[in-house]
Symmetry: C2
Subunit: 240 residues, 2 copies
DNA sequence: TAATAATGTGACCAACCAGTCATATGACCG
DNA sequence: CGGTCATATGACTGGTTGGTCACATTATTA
Protein backbone atom coordinates (compact mmCIF):
# COMPACT_ATOMS: atom_id res chain seq x y z
CA UNK A 1 0.00 0.00 0.00
CA UNK A 2 1.24 3.50 -0.84
CA UNK A 3 2.23 5.80 2.02
CA UNK A 4 -0.30 8.23 3.44
CA UNK A 5 1.70 11.01 1.75
CA UNK A 6 0.48 9.79 -1.59
CA UNK A 7 -3.16 10.10 -0.60
CA UNK A 8 -2.56 13.52 0.90
CA UNK A 9 -1.55 14.77 -2.52
CA UNK A 10 -3.87 17.17 -4.32
CA UNK A 11 -6.32 15.04 -6.26
CA UNK A 12 -5.15 16.33 -9.64
CA UNK A 13 -1.48 15.61 -9.03
CA UNK A 14 -2.22 12.19 -7.58
CA UNK A 15 -4.27 11.25 -10.64
CA UNK A 16 -1.56 12.48 -12.97
CA UNK A 17 1.12 10.42 -11.27
CA UNK A 18 -1.19 7.42 -11.22
CA UNK A 19 -1.77 7.80 -14.93
CA UNK A 20 1.95 7.87 -15.71
CA UNK A 21 2.48 4.81 -13.53
CA UNK A 22 -0.35 2.91 -15.18
CA UNK A 23 0.97 3.81 -18.62
CA UNK A 24 4.42 2.53 -17.70
CA UNK A 25 3.16 -0.76 -16.34
CA UNK A 26 0.75 -1.26 -19.22
CA UNK A 27 3.56 -0.79 -21.73
CA UNK A 28 6.32 -2.76 -20.01
CA UNK A 29 6.41 -5.80 -17.84
CA UNK A 30 7.53 -5.58 -14.27
CA UNK A 31 11.26 -5.95 -14.76
CA UNK A 32 11.29 -3.41 -17.56
CA UNK A 33 9.38 -0.71 -15.76
CA UNK A 34 11.82 2.01 -14.81
CA UNK A 35 11.26 4.15 -11.74
CA UNK A 36 13.67 6.69 -13.16
CA UNK A 37 11.53 6.90 -16.30
CA UNK A 38 8.37 7.22 -14.25
CA UNK A 39 9.62 10.15 -12.22
CA UNK A 40 10.90 11.81 -15.37
CA UNK A 41 7.54 11.42 -17.13
CA UNK A 42 5.61 12.49 -14.08
CA UNK A 43 7.88 15.48 -13.51
CA UNK A 44 8.57 14.66 -9.88
CA UNK A 45 11.80 13.99 -8.02
CA UNK A 46 13.02 10.48 -7.41
CA UNK A 47 12.92 11.13 -3.69
CA UNK A 48 9.28 12.13 -3.86
CA UNK A 49 8.39 8.86 -5.49
CA UNK A 50 9.89 6.99 -2.59
CA UNK A 51 7.85 9.05 -0.21
CA UNK A 52 4.70 7.95 -2.00
CA UNK A 53 5.58 4.29 -2.44
CA UNK A 54 7.70 1.99 -0.33
CA UNK A 55 9.33 0.43 -3.37
CA UNK A 56 8.63 -0.85 -6.86
CA UNK A 57 6.74 -3.89 -5.67
CA UNK A 58 4.56 -1.76 -3.41
CA UNK A 59 3.52 0.26 -6.43
CA UNK A 60 2.91 -2.87 -8.47
CA UNK A 61 0.69 -4.58 -5.93
CA UNK A 62 -1.22 -1.35 -5.53
CA UNK A 63 -2.08 -1.34 -9.23
CA UNK A 64 -3.20 -4.96 -9.03
CA UNK A 65 -5.29 -4.08 -6.01
CA UNK A 66 -6.99 -1.33 -7.97
CA UNK A 67 -7.98 -3.95 -10.54
CA UNK A 68 -9.24 -6.35 -7.91
CA UNK A 69 -11.31 -3.59 -6.33
CA UNK A 70 -12.82 -2.65 -9.67
CA UNK A 71 -13.73 -6.28 -10.27
CA UNK A 72 -15.21 -6.72 -6.81
CA UNK A 73 -17.35 -3.68 -7.29
CA UNK A 74 -18.96 -4.98 -10.45
CA UNK A 75 -19.38 -8.51 -9.17
CA UNK A 76 -21.19 -7.22 -6.10
CA UNK A 77 -23.94 -5.86 -8.32
CA UNK A 78 -27.24 -7.66 -8.90
CA UNK A 79 -25.71 -11.02 -9.67
CA UNK A 80 -28.31 -13.48 -10.91
CA UNK A 81 -28.96 -16.74 -9.10
CA UNK A 82 -27.66 -19.68 -11.15
CA UNK A 83 -30.41 -21.89 -9.74
CA UNK A 84 -32.96 -19.54 -11.14
CA UNK A 85 -31.69 -18.37 -14.51
CA UNK A 86 -29.81 -21.55 -15.43
CA UNK A 87 -26.11 -22.15 -15.55
CA UNK A 88 -25.50 -20.87 -19.05
CA UNK A 89 -27.24 -17.57 -18.49
CA UNK A 90 -25.26 -17.27 -15.28
CA UNK A 91 -22.04 -17.96 -17.15
CA UNK A 92 -22.98 -15.34 -19.67
CA UNK A 93 -23.62 -12.80 -16.93
CA UNK A 94 -20.31 -13.54 -15.27
CA UNK A 95 -18.41 -13.26 -18.52
CA UNK A 96 -20.12 -10.01 -19.40
CA UNK A 97 -19.39 -8.62 -15.97
CA UNK A 98 -15.77 -9.65 -16.27
CA UNK A 99 -15.35 -8.03 -19.62
CA UNK A 100 -17.21 -4.95 -18.48
CA UNK A 101 -14.47 -4.39 -15.93
CA UNK A 102 -11.83 -4.99 -18.56
CA UNK A 103 -13.40 -2.53 -20.96
CA UNK A 104 -13.73 0.05 -18.24
CA UNK A 105 -10.07 -0.35 -17.23
CA UNK A 106 -8.22 -1.61 -20.30
CA UNK A 107 -4.77 -0.66 -19.05
CA UNK A 108 -5.20 -2.16 -15.62
CA UNK A 109 -6.52 -5.31 -17.30
CA UNK A 110 -3.44 -5.53 -19.42
CA UNK A 111 -1.33 -5.29 -16.30
CA UNK A 112 -3.39 -7.94 -14.56
CA UNK A 113 -3.17 -10.31 -17.53
CA UNK A 114 0.57 -9.89 -17.62
CA UNK A 115 0.73 -10.52 -13.90
CA UNK A 116 -1.17 -13.77 -14.31
CA UNK A 117 1.31 -14.98 -16.93
CA UNK A 118 4.47 -13.81 -15.20
CA UNK A 119 6.52 -16.05 -12.98
CA UNK A 120 7.22 -13.19 -10.65
CA UNK A 121 4.11 -12.75 -8.61
CA UNK A 122 3.66 -10.51 -5.59
CA UNK A 123 3.28 -12.39 -2.33
CA UNK A 124 -0.07 -10.70 -1.89
CA UNK A 125 -1.54 -13.15 -4.38
CA UNK A 126 -1.27 -16.55 -2.78
CA UNK A 127 -3.26 -18.47 -5.38
CA UNK A 128 -2.47 -17.95 -9.03
CA UNK A 129 -5.29 -16.25 -10.84
CA UNK A 130 -5.55 -19.00 -13.40
CA UNK A 131 -5.84 -21.71 -10.79
CA UNK A 132 -8.59 -19.85 -8.98
CA UNK A 133 -10.49 -19.35 -12.21
CA UNK A 134 -10.24 -23.02 -13.00
CA UNK A 135 -11.66 -23.97 -9.63
CA UNK A 136 -14.50 -21.53 -10.20
CA UNK A 137 -15.41 -23.04 -13.55
CA UNK A 138 -15.20 -26.53 -12.16
CA UNK A 139 -17.73 -25.69 -9.48
CA UNK A 140 -19.87 -24.09 -12.14
CA UNK A 141 -19.97 -27.27 -14.19
CA UNK A 142 -20.78 -29.35 -11.14
CA UNK A 143 -23.67 -27.11 -10.21
CA UNK A 144 -24.81 -27.18 -13.81
CA UNK A 145 -24.92 -30.94 -13.76
CA UNK A 146 -26.76 -31.04 -10.45
CA UNK A 147 -29.56 -28.88 -11.76
CA UNK A 148 -29.68 -30.59 -15.12
CA UNK A 149 -28.43 -27.78 -17.35
CA UNK A 150 -25.29 -29.69 -18.22
CA UNK A 151 -25.44 -33.27 -19.41
CA UNK A 152 -24.33 -35.76 -16.75
CA UNK A 153 -21.86 -37.58 -19.00
CA UNK A 154 -19.76 -34.44 -19.47
CA UNK A 155 -16.30 -34.68 -17.90
CA UNK A 156 -16.16 -31.97 -15.26
CA UNK A 157 -12.49 -31.14 -15.44
CA UNK A 158 -12.26 -31.02 -19.22
CA UNK A 159 -15.46 -29.00 -19.46
CA UNK A 160 -14.07 -26.50 -16.97
CA UNK A 161 -10.90 -26.16 -18.99
CA UNK A 162 -12.87 -25.62 -22.19
CA UNK A 163 -15.10 -23.09 -20.44
CA UNK A 164 -12.17 -21.17 -19.09
CA UNK A 165 -10.31 -21.13 -22.38
CA UNK A 166 -13.28 -20.13 -24.48
CA UNK A 167 -14.41 -17.37 -22.15
CA UNK A 168 -10.98 -15.87 -21.60
CA UNK A 169 -10.34 -16.03 -25.33
CA UNK A 170 -13.48 -14.07 -26.06
CA UNK A 171 -12.65 -11.58 -23.33
CA UNK A 172 -9.14 -11.09 -24.61
CA UNK A 173 -10.47 -10.60 -28.11
CA UNK A 174 -12.86 -7.91 -26.96
CA UNK A 175 -10.14 -6.22 -24.93
CA UNK A 176 -7.87 -6.17 -27.96
CA UNK A 177 -10.64 -4.68 -30.05
CA UNK A 178 -11.12 -1.86 -27.59
CA UNK A 179 -7.46 -1.08 -26.99
CA UNK A 180 -6.81 -1.08 -30.73
CA UNK A 181 -9.77 1.19 -31.25
CA UNK A 182 -11.77 -1.22 -33.40
CA UNK A 183 -14.64 -1.04 -30.96
CA UNK A 184 -15.34 2.48 -29.83
CA UNK A 185 -16.98 3.11 -26.51
CA UNK A 186 -19.19 6.13 -26.75
CA UNK A 187 -19.32 8.18 -23.58
CA UNK A 188 -23.05 7.63 -23.22
CA UNK A 189 -22.52 3.88 -23.21
CA UNK A 190 -21.47 4.03 -19.62
CA UNK A 191 -23.19 0.86 -18.67
CA UNK A 192 -21.07 -1.58 -20.59
CA UNK A 193 -23.51 -4.40 -19.99
CA UNK A 194 -25.73 -2.85 -22.57
CA UNK A 195 -23.13 -2.59 -25.30
CA UNK A 196 -24.93 -4.63 -27.96
CA UNK A 197 -21.79 -5.87 -29.69
CA UNK A 198 -20.38 -7.19 -26.45
CA UNK A 199 -23.58 -8.86 -25.36
CA UNK A 200 -24.03 -10.47 -28.77
CA UNK A 201 -20.58 -12.02 -28.80
CA UNK A 202 -21.02 -13.61 -25.41
CA UNK A 203 -24.49 -14.79 -26.26
CA UNK A 204 -23.11 -16.49 -29.33
CA UNK A 205 -20.12 -17.98 -27.57
CA UNK A 206 -22.12 -19.39 -24.68
CA UNK A 207 -24.67 -20.78 -27.10
CA UNK A 208 -21.86 -22.57 -28.92
CA UNK A 209 -20.69 -24.10 -25.68
CA UNK A 210 -24.20 -25.22 -24.80
CA UNK A 211 -25.42 -26.46 -28.14
CA UNK A 212 -22.11 -27.29 -29.78
CA UNK A 213 -21.02 -26.40 -33.27
CA UNK A 214 -21.71 -29.70 -34.95
CA UNK A 215 -24.36 -30.03 -37.62
CA UNK A 216 -26.59 -31.72 -35.06
CA UNK A 217 -26.96 -28.59 -32.98
CA UNK A 218 -30.32 -27.13 -32.27
CA UNK A 219 -31.04 -23.66 -33.50
CA UNK A 220 -30.48 -20.95 -30.95
CA UNK A 221 -33.56 -20.63 -28.79
CA UNK A 222 -35.49 -17.57 -27.83
CA UNK A 223 -33.64 -17.21 -24.54
CA UNK A 224 -30.56 -16.41 -26.57
CA UNK A 225 -31.45 -13.78 -29.15
CA UNK A 226 -30.48 -15.15 -32.53
CA UNK A 227 -27.00 -13.84 -33.31
CA UNK A 228 -26.93 -11.61 -36.34
CA UNK A 229 -24.39 -12.86 -38.88
CA UNK A 230 -22.51 -9.58 -38.90
CA UNK A 231 -22.37 -8.89 -35.21
CA UNK A 232 -18.80 -7.84 -35.31
CA UNK A 233 -18.95 -5.79 -38.45
CA UNK A 234 -21.84 -3.92 -36.92
CA UNK A 235 -19.47 -2.80 -34.20
CA UNK A 236 -16.99 -1.54 -36.73
CA UNK A 237 -14.93 -4.70 -36.90
CA UNK A 238 -13.95 -6.02 -40.27
CA UNK A 239 -14.52 -9.72 -40.84
CA UNK A 240 -11.15 -9.97 -42.51
CA UNK B 1 21.44 -17.21 -36.22
CA UNK B 2 24.45 -18.16 -34.08
CA UNK B 3 27.93 -17.81 -35.58
CA UNK B 4 29.60 -20.79 -37.20
CA UNK B 5 31.91 -20.92 -34.17
CA UNK B 6 29.01 -22.13 -32.09
CA UNK B 7 28.33 -25.06 -34.39
CA UNK B 8 32.06 -25.92 -34.52
CA UNK B 9 31.97 -26.52 -30.79
CA UNK B 10 32.32 -30.10 -29.55
CA UNK B 11 28.81 -31.53 -29.43
CA UNK B 12 28.85 -32.03 -25.68
CA UNK B 13 29.92 -28.48 -24.87
CA UNK B 14 27.44 -27.03 -27.34
CA UNK B 15 24.58 -28.98 -25.78
CA UNK B 16 25.62 -27.93 -22.31
CA UNK B 17 25.65 -24.25 -23.23
CA UNK B 18 22.33 -24.65 -25.01
CA UNK B 19 20.83 -26.22 -21.91
CA UNK B 20 21.96 -23.36 -19.69
CA UNK B 21 20.58 -20.87 -22.17
CA UNK B 22 17.25 -22.64 -22.41
CA UNK B 23 17.01 -22.83 -18.63
CA UNK B 24 17.65 -19.12 -18.35
CA UNK B 25 15.04 -18.17 -20.91
CA UNK B 26 12.50 -20.61 -19.53
CA UNK B 27 12.87 -19.13 -16.05
CA UNK B 28 13.04 -15.43 -16.92
CA UNK B 29 11.49 -13.29 -19.54
CA UNK B 30 13.61 -11.61 -22.15
CA UNK B 31 14.47 -8.44 -20.28
CA UNK B 32 15.41 -10.38 -17.15
CA UNK B 33 17.68 -12.87 -18.84
CA UNK B 34 21.26 -11.98 -17.96
CA UNK B 35 24.11 -12.81 -20.28
CA UNK B 36 26.51 -12.41 -17.39
CA UNK B 37 24.55 -15.05 -15.48
CA UNK B 38 24.48 -17.34 -18.49
CA UNK B 39 28.24 -17.30 -18.99
CA UNK B 40 28.75 -17.82 -15.26
CA UNK B 41 26.40 -20.82 -15.20
CA UNK B 42 27.86 -22.24 -18.39
CA UNK B 43 31.42 -21.70 -17.17
CA UNK B 44 32.55 -19.83 -20.25
CA UNK B 45 33.98 -16.37 -20.72
CA UNK B 46 31.81 -13.43 -21.67
CA UNK B 47 33.90 -12.96 -24.79
CA UNK B 48 33.27 -16.53 -25.85
CA UNK B 49 29.54 -16.02 -25.68
CA UNK B 50 29.81 -13.14 -28.09
CA UNK B 51 31.77 -15.31 -30.45
CA UNK B 52 28.90 -17.80 -30.49
CA UNK B 53 26.03 -15.32 -30.70
CA UNK B 54 25.82 -11.90 -32.25
CA UNK B 55 23.87 -10.51 -29.31
CA UNK B 56 21.07 -11.28 -26.90
CA UNK B 57 18.37 -11.04 -29.54
CA UNK B 58 20.26 -13.36 -31.84
CA UNK B 59 20.25 -15.99 -29.13
CA UNK B 60 16.57 -15.42 -28.42
CA UNK B 61 15.40 -15.77 -31.99
CA UNK B 62 17.54 -18.89 -32.29
CA UNK B 63 15.62 -20.49 -29.44
CA UNK B 64 12.32 -19.53 -31.01
CA UNK B 65 13.56 -20.96 -34.30
CA UNK B 66 14.32 -24.24 -32.59
CA UNK B 67 10.70 -24.37 -31.45
CA UNK B 68 9.38 -23.52 -34.89
CA UNK B 69 11.53 -26.24 -36.41
CA UNK B 70 10.28 -28.80 -33.90
CA UNK B 71 6.70 -27.84 -34.72
CA UNK B 72 7.27 -27.96 -38.45
CA UNK B 73 8.75 -31.42 -38.16
CA UNK B 74 5.70 -32.84 -36.43
CA UNK B 75 3.19 -31.07 -38.64
CA UNK B 76 4.88 -32.46 -41.74
CA UNK B 77 3.99 -35.98 -40.64
CA UNK B 78 1.00 -37.87 -41.99
CA UNK B 79 -1.49 -35.07 -41.56
CA UNK B 80 -5.02 -36.29 -42.22
CA UNK B 81 -7.18 -34.70 -44.91
CA UNK B 82 -9.98 -32.65 -43.33
CA UNK B 83 -12.24 -33.43 -46.29
CA UNK B 84 -11.87 -37.09 -45.57
CA UNK B 85 -11.88 -37.48 -41.79
CA UNK B 86 -14.15 -34.56 -41.03
CA UNK B 87 -13.30 -31.24 -39.49
CA UNK B 88 -13.49 -32.26 -35.85
CA UNK B 89 -11.19 -35.24 -36.24
CA UNK B 90 -8.83 -32.94 -38.10
CA UNK B 91 -8.99 -30.42 -35.29
CA UNK B 92 -8.27 -33.16 -32.83
CA UNK B 93 -5.26 -34.30 -34.82
CA UNK B 94 -3.89 -30.77 -35.04
CA UNK B 95 -4.34 -30.17 -31.33
CA UNK B 96 -2.68 -33.46 -30.48
CA UNK B 97 0.19 -32.71 -32.80
CA UNK B 98 0.60 -29.27 -31.26
CA UNK B 99 0.65 -30.59 -27.75
CA UNK B 100 2.97 -33.42 -28.75
CA UNK B 101 5.55 -30.82 -29.64
CA UNK B 102 4.94 -28.98 -26.41
CA UNK B 103 5.33 -32.12 -24.33
CA UNK B 104 8.50 -33.03 -26.17
CA UNK B 105 9.99 -29.56 -25.58
CA UNK B 106 8.33 -28.14 -22.47
CA UNK B 107 10.97 -25.47 -21.85
CA UNK B 108 11.04 -24.21 -25.41
CA UNK B 109 7.25 -24.13 -25.33
CA UNK B 110 7.31 -22.00 -22.25
CA UNK B 111 9.64 -19.59 -24.01
CA UNK B 112 7.44 -19.53 -27.09
CA UNK B 113 4.30 -18.90 -25.06
CA UNK B 114 6.00 -16.03 -23.29
CA UNK B 115 7.13 -14.67 -26.63
CA UNK B 116 3.57 -14.71 -27.92
CA UNK B 117 2.39 -12.69 -24.93
CA UNK B 118 5.28 -10.26 -24.79
CA UNK B 119 5.13 -6.85 -26.42
CA UNK B 120 8.75 -7.14 -27.43
CA UNK B 121 8.80 -9.47 -30.39
CA UNK B 122 11.73 -10.27 -32.64
CA UNK B 123 11.41 -8.86 -36.11
CA UNK B 124 11.69 -12.39 -37.44
CA UNK B 125 8.07 -12.92 -36.50
CA UNK B 126 6.09 -10.53 -38.63
CA UNK B 127 2.64 -11.79 -37.70
CA UNK B 128 1.84 -12.30 -34.06
CA UNK B 129 1.39 -15.97 -33.24
CA UNK B 130 -2.05 -15.40 -31.82
CA UNK B 131 -3.27 -13.60 -34.89
CA UNK B 132 -2.01 -16.36 -37.16
CA UNK B 133 -3.69 -18.99 -35.04
CA UNK B 134 -6.94 -17.10 -35.17
CA UNK B 135 -6.82 -16.94 -38.95
CA UNK B 136 -6.14 -20.67 -39.04
CA UNK B 137 -9.17 -21.49 -36.90
CA UNK B 138 -11.34 -19.18 -38.91
CA UNK B 139 -10.48 -21.01 -42.11
CA UNK B 140 -11.10 -24.25 -40.30
CA UNK B 141 -14.62 -23.23 -39.37
CA UNK B 142 -15.34 -22.06 -42.90
CA UNK B 143 -14.19 -25.35 -44.37
CA UNK B 144 -16.21 -27.17 -41.74
CA UNK B 145 -19.34 -25.32 -42.78
CA UNK B 146 -18.71 -25.96 -46.46
CA UNK B 147 -18.55 -29.69 -45.96
CA UNK B 148 -21.42 -29.76 -43.50
CA UNK B 149 -19.58 -30.71 -40.34
CA UNK B 150 -20.34 -27.40 -38.75
CA UNK B 151 -23.84 -25.98 -38.68
CA UNK B 152 -24.33 -23.13 -41.16
CA UNK B 153 -25.83 -20.74 -38.61
CA UNK B 154 -22.66 -20.73 -36.52
CA UNK B 155 -20.90 -17.38 -36.47
CA UNK B 156 -17.49 -17.96 -38.02
CA UNK B 157 -15.50 -15.43 -36.07
CA UNK B 158 -16.92 -16.26 -32.67
CA UNK B 159 -16.58 -19.97 -33.32
CA UNK B 160 -12.93 -19.48 -34.26
CA UNK B 161 -12.31 -17.57 -31.06
CA UNK B 162 -13.99 -20.26 -28.99
CA UNK B 163 -12.00 -22.93 -30.80
CA UNK B 164 -8.73 -21.17 -30.24
CA UNK B 165 -9.39 -20.49 -26.59
CA UNK B 166 -10.58 -23.96 -25.78
CA UNK B 167 -7.75 -25.71 -27.57
CA UNK B 168 -4.98 -23.52 -26.20
CA UNK B 169 -6.45 -23.84 -22.74
CA UNK B 170 -6.34 -27.63 -22.94
CA UNK B 171 -2.81 -27.50 -24.32
CA UNK B 172 -1.65 -25.19 -21.58
CA UNK B 173 -3.24 -27.41 -18.99
CA UNK B 174 -1.43 -30.45 -20.31
CA UNK B 175 1.84 -28.57 -20.48
CA UNK B 176 1.45 -27.49 -16.87
CA UNK B 177 0.74 -31.06 -15.86
CA UNK B 178 3.93 -32.26 -17.48
CA UNK B 179 6.22 -29.49 -16.24
CA UNK B 180 4.85 -29.90 -12.72
CA UNK B 181 5.39 -33.64 -12.95
CA UNK B 182 1.72 -34.59 -12.54
CA UNK B 183 1.84 -36.43 -15.85
CA UNK B 184 4.95 -38.53 -16.21
CA UNK B 185 6.26 -39.34 -19.65
CA UNK B 186 7.79 -42.78 -19.60
CA UNK B 187 10.78 -43.12 -21.91
CA UNK B 188 9.06 -45.84 -23.92
CA UNK B 189 6.17 -43.49 -24.65
CA UNK B 190 8.23 -41.79 -27.31
CA UNK B 191 5.33 -41.35 -29.67
CA UNK B 192 3.36 -38.84 -27.70
CA UNK B 193 0.35 -39.22 -29.94
CA UNK B 194 -0.31 -42.52 -28.27
CA UNK B 195 -0.26 -41.21 -24.74
CA UNK B 196 -3.76 -42.33 -23.71
CA UNK B 197 -4.33 -39.56 -21.19
CA UNK B 198 -3.47 -36.90 -23.74
CA UNK B 199 -5.62 -38.40 -26.48
CA UNK B 200 -8.55 -38.80 -24.11
CA UNK B 201 -8.53 -35.20 -23.02
CA UNK B 202 -8.55 -33.91 -26.57
CA UNK B 203 -11.20 -36.37 -27.61
CA UNK B 204 -13.37 -35.15 -24.78
CA UNK B 205 -12.71 -31.48 -25.44
CA UNK B 206 -13.40 -31.68 -29.16
CA UNK B 207 -16.54 -33.67 -28.51
CA UNK B 208 -17.73 -30.93 -26.18
CA UNK B 209 -17.17 -28.36 -28.90
CA UNK B 210 -19.04 -30.45 -31.43
CA UNK B 211 -21.94 -31.67 -29.36
CA UNK B 212 -22.07 -28.94 -26.74
CA UNK B 213 -22.40 -29.38 -23.02
CA UNK B 214 -26.09 -28.67 -22.67
CA UNK B 215 -28.51 -31.36 -21.57
CA UNK B 216 -29.68 -31.68 -25.18
CA UNK B 217 -26.33 -33.05 -26.35
CA UNK B 218 -26.13 -36.38 -28.05
CA UNK B 219 -24.11 -39.06 -26.37
CA UNK B 220 -20.58 -39.33 -27.68
CA UNK B 221 -20.57 -41.45 -30.80
CA UNK B 222 -18.40 -44.39 -31.64
CA UNK B 223 -15.96 -42.22 -33.55
CA UNK B 224 -15.06 -40.59 -30.26
CA UNK B 225 -14.41 -43.30 -27.70
CA UNK B 226 -16.59 -42.57 -24.70
CA UNK B 227 -14.49 -40.64 -22.21
CA UNK B 228 -13.98 -42.46 -18.96
CA UNK B 229 -15.07 -40.32 -16.02
CA UNK B 230 -11.65 -40.53 -14.40
CA UNK B 231 -9.44 -39.86 -17.39
CA UNK B 232 -7.22 -37.45 -15.57
CA UNK B 233 -6.94 -39.34 -12.34
CA UNK B 234 -5.87 -42.32 -14.38
CA UNK B 235 -2.88 -40.29 -15.48
CA UNK B 236 -1.93 -39.49 -11.93
CA UNK B 237 -3.79 -36.23 -11.71
CA UNK B 238 -5.94 -35.56 -8.71
CA UNK B 239 -9.41 -34.26 -9.42
CA UNK B 240 -9.05 -31.72 -6.64
C1' DT C 1 7.31 35.77 14.44
C1' DA C 2 9.49 31.47 15.76
C1' DA C 3 9.29 26.61 16.03
C1' DT C 4 7.91 22.37 14.34
C1' DA C 5 6.33 19.15 11.13
C1' DA C 6 5.51 17.54 6.46
C1' DT C 7 6.91 17.35 1.93
C1' DG C 8 10.01 18.09 -2.05
C1' DT C 9 14.62 17.52 -4.24
C1' DG C 10 18.42 15.63 -7.01
C1' DA C 11 23.21 14.28 -6.38
C1' DC C 12 24.86 10.08 -5.18
C1' DC C 13 25.63 4.89 -4.37
C1' DA C 14 26.54 0.11 -5.19
C1' DA C 15 25.04 -3.33 -8.25
C1' DC C 16 24.16 -4.79 -12.41
C1' DC C 17 23.67 -4.70 -17.40
C1' DA C 18 25.03 -5.74 -22.68
C1' DG C 19 28.68 -5.53 -25.28
C1' DT C 20 33.98 -4.68 -26.64
C1' DC C 21 38.76 -5.58 -27.32
C1' DA C 22 43.61 -6.33 -26.56
C1' DT C 23 45.77 -10.21 -25.43
C1' DA C 24 46.60 -15.24 -24.63
C1' DT C 25 46.16 -19.99 -25.97
C1' DG C 26 46.52 -23.76 -28.76
C1' DA C 27 45.76 -26.35 -33.10
C1' DC C 28 47.26 -26.98 -37.65
C1' DC C 29 50.48 -26.40 -41.61
C1' DG C 30 54.83 -25.91 -44.20
C1' DC D 1 61.01 -24.46 -36.02
C1' DG D 2 58.02 -20.19 -37.39
C1' DG D 3 53.73 -18.59 -39.14
C1' DT D 4 48.77 -18.44 -39.47
C1' DC D 5 44.36 -18.83 -37.94
C1' DA D 6 40.39 -20.04 -35.04
C1' DT D 7 39.16 -19.74 -30.51
C1' DA D 8 39.26 -18.39 -25.42
C1' DT D 9 39.54 -14.86 -21.96
C1' DG D 10 38.15 -11.35 -18.53
C1' DA D 11 39.17 -6.59 -17.48
C1' DC D 12 36.92 -2.75 -18.99
C1' DT D 13 33.35 0.80 -20.85
C1' DG D 14 29.38 3.55 -20.85
C1' DG D 15 25.03 3.20 -19.31
C1' DT D 16 20.97 2.08 -16.39
C1' DT D 17 18.95 0.32 -12.46
C1' DG D 18 16.40 0.68 -7.66
C1' DG D 19 17.01 2.98 -3.76
C1' DT D 20 19.09 6.55 -0.18
C1' DC D 21 19.96 10.74 2.23
C1' DA D 22 21.41 15.31 3.57
C1' DC D 23 19.37 19.30 2.62
C1' DA D 24 15.80 22.81 0.88
C1' DT D 25 11.18 24.30 0.76
C1' DT D 26 6.63 24.86 2.28
C1' DA D 27 2.66 24.32 5.59
C1' DT D 28 1.04 24.31 10.14
C1' DT D 29 1.07 25.27 14.32
C1' DA D 30 1.98 28.35 18.77
Amino acid sequence: MPQQTFFNLPEEKRQQILQVVIDEFAENDYESVSISRIVARAGIAKGSFYQYFKDKEDLYTYLLDLMVEAKKEVLSLDRPDPNHVGIFAYLRWMAEAGVAVQLAHPQLSKIAVRAANANFFPKAFDLSAREATQVFYQRLVEVGQQQGDIAPDVDVKVAAIVFEGAMSSVSRYLLDQVTSGAIVLKPEEENLFDLPAVKAIFTTAVDLLEQGMGSGRRQAQEAYPAPQPQILSAAGVEAD
